[in-house]
């Protein structure tokens, strides 16, 4: 009993010192930098898990969500993707490459006048469906398109 109490106190003391060091900036935990990076969604290997991490399950199709992507990408390392949401109050757009090792590539949140419109260039490992997911007024919409890749984006 007494021994346990001592251990607990010791542990508390040690972590207190550690917290102090962290606060003083002596130790810099690498994870702290990107604390608002959605690790669960980005490190998901399955589409469903990635969507769940985004809170974007059960998306409905909507013609007002438009994605522009090349039908055939000669270079999978640089595939230009444009997503435009004409849905009012679009607050979020995420782009997923279904066949990539980690499907979620990027996610953008819009505020204060930013339109639901984003263009990016992605690596696409192999011919894959690319899906864009948008959130507007708490509802989730998606659209998708297949991109054929002749040279993969993940090799040397």
């Amino acid at each position: 009993m007494d021994l346990l109490r001592r251990t607990v106190l010791k542990g508390a003391g040690a972590s207190g010192v550690l917290a102090g060091l962290l606060a003083a900036g002596v130790l810099k935990p690498t994870l702290a930098y990107a604390s608002d990076w959605n690790k669960a969604a980005f490190e998901a290997k399955e589409l469903d898990a990635a969507l769940k991490g985004l809170g974007a399950e059960g998306a409905a199709a909507n013609p007002a969500l438009v994605m522009k992507a090349p039908e055939i990408a000669e270079n999978g390392a640089v595939v230009p993707i444009d997503v435009t949401s004409n849905i009012p109050n679009t607050t979020m757009i995420a782009i997923l490459v279904l066949k990539n090792p980690f499907p979620l590539s990027s996610q953008f949140e819009f505020a204060s006048g930013a339109m639901g419109d984003v263009s990016v260039r992605l690596k696409v490992a192999e011919t894959s469906i690319i899906r864009a997911v948008a959130k507007a007024d708490g509802k989730v919409y998606s659209t998708q398109k297949e991109v054929k890749v002749t040279v993969g984006g993940c090799g040397g």
Binding site: K28, T30, Y33, A34, D36, W37, N38, F42, A77, V78, V79, D82, V97, N100, P101, F102, L104, S105, S106, Q107, F108, E109, F110, A111, S112, G113, A114, M115, D117, V118, S119, V120, R121, L122, K123, V124, G153, C154, G155, G156
Partner: protein, 103 residues
């Protein structure tokens, strides 16, 4: 320290088009070098675009965004002379902020 970004912000009608070119290797952590060793992951995780100090776009990215990434955004309610600031932070804690004015 990474190289400066190239930022262009231009009014097209009442919409401000912002394009950003960042200089970054964007290593996925999946690639192997000539000796068969895995190249450690090194990619931008967070980016923000601010108009006159107010965040308009906040993005999160993975290693599957291309090397030297290019992003395009559109913002309403901007005018010529407004200040556009773009920042990023990568998974190693490197960061960079650059500014331009709306043309």
């Amino acid at each position: 320290m990474a190289d400066p970004m190239k930022i262009r912000a231009q009014m097209k009608g009442d919409v401000c088009e912002i394009r950003v070119l960042m200089s970054h290797p964007m290593e996925t952590g999946q690639r192997k070098d000539a000796d068969g060793k895995t190249v450690p992951a090194h990619f931008i995780q967070n980016l923000t675009v601010a108009l006159n100090g107010k965040t308009v776009v906040s993005g999160q990215t993975a290693g599957s965004v291309s090397r030297n990434p290019v992003f395009g955004f559109k913002v309403k309610g901007a005018k010529a002379g407004d200040k556009v600031a773009v920042s990023w932070v990568d998974n190693k804690g490197d960061k960079r902020t650059d500014e331009t004015t709306v043309a």
